[in-house]
């Protein structure tokens, strides 16, 4: 038992199947995570990483049901015998949507909630709250309502609330998925401080490996429920996953496969690629036109400019990525084009007139679930068509988005990526020439992403125009024919992806960072190298 104190989390031959699952979500998982480890769980959507995280504090199986074999020990406690509440003093869990997990209304109260449950003595509780406020650098937020925090602030408050009761193990499910690049950096830096300065054990899952792979020191990879354990480099190689630089490395046969832009630069030094010639694609007639548009938001009686003097044109055949910090005005721009926000100054025209929501423009919102209300996937498309009084004899959208095989399924039982595709199909069925998508890359797995890209291209080829707001520079690099950049409600850049992204410190895709402006996707670089 001598080495016992060194193991924070021990998974012993864990096999787990969800109540309605046809195969195990975790299969013979045998992993030990040492104290003070900073470990990344990775894998495609549905491969088992989320199940793995949730079994670390007993949410699996206590909140899911199902068949559980093997044992998980958290600081020596069996999770099967101890529901999450009885592990709260040793392991903390921060779910993906931190905002939805808040129980109270104020920052301080939320941080104290876990300690209240454990019966921590009031004086001690008071001190701990102060410590947590300092540790996560959120003291200025102490009296704020949780409702008024930004995404990054929410995430840090959630971490403080999870840690206040004093657990030594912290588990986070995709902590940066809703943050812009700067917000993500803040959170990762805070986590590193916890590991390095306070000896905390941190286990997290993340989709966008490029954001986290440089920070962690161990990895557990998942494929169809089976776990691979090792350094991030080993695991990424075994699973053939990774950020764009890794994908390029595999395509052109670099060994070792690079994980970071820095690795890739070293490997790329031998290949002196010159800037590719980029020309703007030929475009058709104008679909949507904005001229000198100002839009204002009113919050608590205060008028805040949300869009300032915005002018631009979306033409047939274009796919435009809208980028910028959280709060830069991306969603406002989309809603203005859609005709649900009316400009205080300037004019908005789609097909030569004021846009009619639902006929000229269709918009898939940030939460695609907002539009789903039928009990089958096909029913969602039918509902849109029925509203237009159109027979649904040959609706091509399910095929186009690769979800025809899900036609009879309940939309709520699908994965997040599939639900986005269903919502997109329901909106495409309006046959509006302008299709807008707000943050389509959230929770999107590679499969769904490929279907979405195919749909956008088909829509553009058929004479439509599409715009999407995103933080995902790699998605923009892969599909956009044009990029506009917003800051403080103003359009500060508008041009080809090569020009706009190539010019940016923050929003440059990895290929640009390695090979210089003009290089956007691994496929493009690999082709040039061949």
């Amino acid at each position: 038992m001598s080495g016992y104190g060194d193991i924070a989390l021990s998974f012993q031959d864990v096999t787990f199947t969800y109540p309605d699952g046809d195969r195990p979500a975790l299969a013979d998982v045998r992993v030990d995570i040492p104290e003070g480890g900073f470990v990344l769980a990775l894998g495609a959507t549905g491969a088992g990483k989320s199940t793995f995280l949730r079994s670390a504090n007993g949410l699996v199986p206590h909140f899911t049901g199902g068949t559980f074999a093997g044992r998980v020990f958290v600081a020596g406690r069996d999770t099967l015998a101890n529901p999450p509440r009885r592990l709260a003093d040793v392991v903390a869990f921060v779910p993906q949507d931190a905002g939805a997990s808040f129980v109270l209304d104020g920052v301080e109260d939320e941080i104290a909630y876990g300690m209240e449950n454990l019966g921590v003595e009031p004086a001690h509780m008071r001190r701990r709250v102060e410590e947590m406020l300092d540790l996560l650098d959120i003291a200025p937020l102490r009296h704020r309502s949780l409702r008024r925090l930004s995404g990054g602030e929410r995430q840090r408050v959630a971490i403080a609330a999870a840690l206040a009761a004093g657990p030594r193990i912290l588990v986070l499910d995709e902590p940066t998925s809703q943050l812009d690049p700067q917000g993500a950096e803040h959170v990762m830096a805070a986590l590193q401080r916890l590991v390095h300065d306070h000896g905390m054990t941190v286990l997290l899952a993340e989709h966008r490996l490029e954001r986290v792979v440089g920070w962690v020191d161990g990895a557990v990879g998942f494929r169809e429920g089976h776990a691979t354990v090792g350094t991030p480099r080993e695991v990424i190689r075994t699973l053939a996953l990774g950020p764009p630089v890794s994908r390029l490395g595999r395509m052109v046969g670099w060994d070792p496969v690079p994980l970071t832009v820095r690795d890739a630069r070293a490997a790329a030094r031998a290949h002196g690629l010159i800037r590719p010639v980029t020309t703007a694609d030929a475009v058709g007639d104008a679909l949507a036109v904005l001229r000198g548009v100002d839009v204002q938001h009113e919050e608590l009686g205060e008028v805040l400019p949300a869009l300032r003097d915005a002018s631009f044109t979306l033409s047939e055949g274009e796919i435009v990525a809208v980028m910028g910090r959280n709060g830069a005005g991306k969603t406002t721009l989309l809603r203005t084009i859609a005709g649900v926000l009316s400009p205080h100054r300037g004019e908005v025209q789609v097909r030569g007139h004021t846009p009619q929501p639902g006929t000229d423009v269709g918009l898939c919102p940030q939460e695609p679930e907002s539009v789903l209300f039928n009990d089958s996937v096909a029913g969602e498309v039918r509902a849109t068509l029925r509203a237009r009084h159109v027979p649904d004899a040959d609706a091509p959208w399910l095929d186009l988005l690769g979800i025809a095989h899900l036609a009879t399924r309940h939309p709520r039982e699908l994965s997040a990526g599939q639900r986005l595709l269903v919502a997109t199909a329901a909106i495409a069925a309006t046959e509006a020439p302008v299709i807008l998508l707000d943050e389509p890359s959230r929770g999107l797995d590679p499969d769904s992403k490929a279907h979405l890209i195919r749909f956008l291209r088909a829509h553009a080829v058929n004479g439509g125009g599409a715009m999407f707001a995103t933080h995902d520079v790699e998605l923009a690099a892969a599909v956009a024919t044009r990029v506009i950049m917003l800051a403080g409600g103003e359009i500060i850049a508008d041009g080809t992806p090569a020009d706009v992204l190539g010019d940016s410190q923050v929003f440059a895709p990895q290929m640009t960072r390695v090979f210089g402006p003009g290089w956007l996707t691994p496929e493009q670089v690999a082709e040039a190298m061949a």
């Binding site: 509440r85 709260a88 779910p95 129980v103 876990g114 009031p122 709250v129 102060e130 102490r142």
Partner: protein, 299 residues
């Protein structure tokens, strides 16, 4: 001690009181923000006892004095937020009560004495409404929930959750309505209800599951419980509760002994008299209006 007030963006008045910390400590910055709200229990006592005072009398003079007291306390102590608007709502409801009650005279004998009697009964009900209108406008709803004793923790927590989630529900409803418009689905009329209601309810059910997981992960239901920074029952709270108690006892005694012209008859119709001692007792209810203004707990 420095204090003052300023107008907030939403038209309310926010007051602040800065207290110099007794000793310089690491929490010096926290001291400036210390919760300066009056204990909600004290307000509850004030409203209940004030309601009893109103209940014991049908003398319109005493009742109208209570209106003035309620209005003064409201202007001095109201907290920002939607509940502050309730004073006006209660005022309107009170006036409505007087009108409706007076109209009921048509079910009996119509004469001056009866009209006066019904109107005064309406006035008494309206006075109770106005006192509670003030109560609602001067207490922070979360503060009331926090009053729940430890063993009632769970229903109180559910109520607090309902309060903090409600704005999100409203936002969700607006989002869904807009999203359905942008998909060409009608959002008006009874036929449109499922397209609006289902996504909101589905989102709510998912939220409930995330919340339950979060609560369990943070030790909810372990059986032990302590409380973070409970609101203290301080001198202000004692002052409010005791002065209101004295007022209520005075009126109760006077009313059961038939003193102070608390129940003047209306047949024959005459002007009721007012007793100075009873007025003085009633004036005790105005005490909270002279206490330092409450700070705002949360931004």
């Amino acid at each position: 001690m420095a204090s003052g007030s300023f107008r907030t963006a939403d038209g309310g008045t926010m007051s602040f009181a800065l207290r110099v910390p007794r000793s310089a400590s690491s929490t010096a910055s926290a001291a400036a923000d210390e919760r300066t709200a009056i204990h909600p229990g004290a307000w509850m006592a004030w409203a209940t006892l004030g309601g009893i005072v109103a209940f014991t009398t049908t003398n319109p003079f005493y009742l109208l004095v209570l209106w003035a007291i309620a209005w003064f306390v409201f202007t001095q102590q109201r907290v920002p937020g939607p509940a502050a608007r309730s004073f006006r709502v209660f005022l309107i409801a009170g006036l409505l009560a007087i009108v409706v009650r007076t109209a009921l005279v048509f079910f009996g004998t119509f004469n001056a004495a009866n009209v006066a009697h019904f109107a005064i009964e309406g006035l008494r009900l309206a006075t109770i409404l106005v006192i509670f209108g003030t109560f609602n406008a001067v207490t922070d709803p979360f503060g009331v929930v926090r009053l729940a004793p430890r063993r009632f923790h769970e229903p109180a927590l559910a109520a607090a959750l309902a309060l903090s989630i409600a704005p999100r529900t409203v936002a969700c409803l607006q989002r869904v309505r807009e999203a359905q418009q942008l998909r060409g689905i009608p959002t008006r009329g009874a036929r449109a209800l499922p397209a609006l209601a289902i996504p909101v309810l589905e989102a709510g059910m998912e939220e409930a599951l995330v919340l339950a997981e979060s609560m369990d992960s943070r030790g909810h239901g372990r059986g032990r419980r302590s409380r973070y920074r409970p609101q203290s029952w301080n001198a202000a709270a004692w002052t409010i509760a005791l002065s209101a108690f004295v007022a209520a006892v005075m009126f109760w005694i006077a009313s059961s002994r038939g003193l102070g012209d608390l129940q003047p008859g209306t047949d024959p119709l005459h002007w009721p008299t007012v007793n100075v001692l009873m007025l003085a007792a009633e004036a005790l209810l105005v005490v909270p209006g002279f206490l330092p203004r409450q700070g705002s707990a949360r931004r």
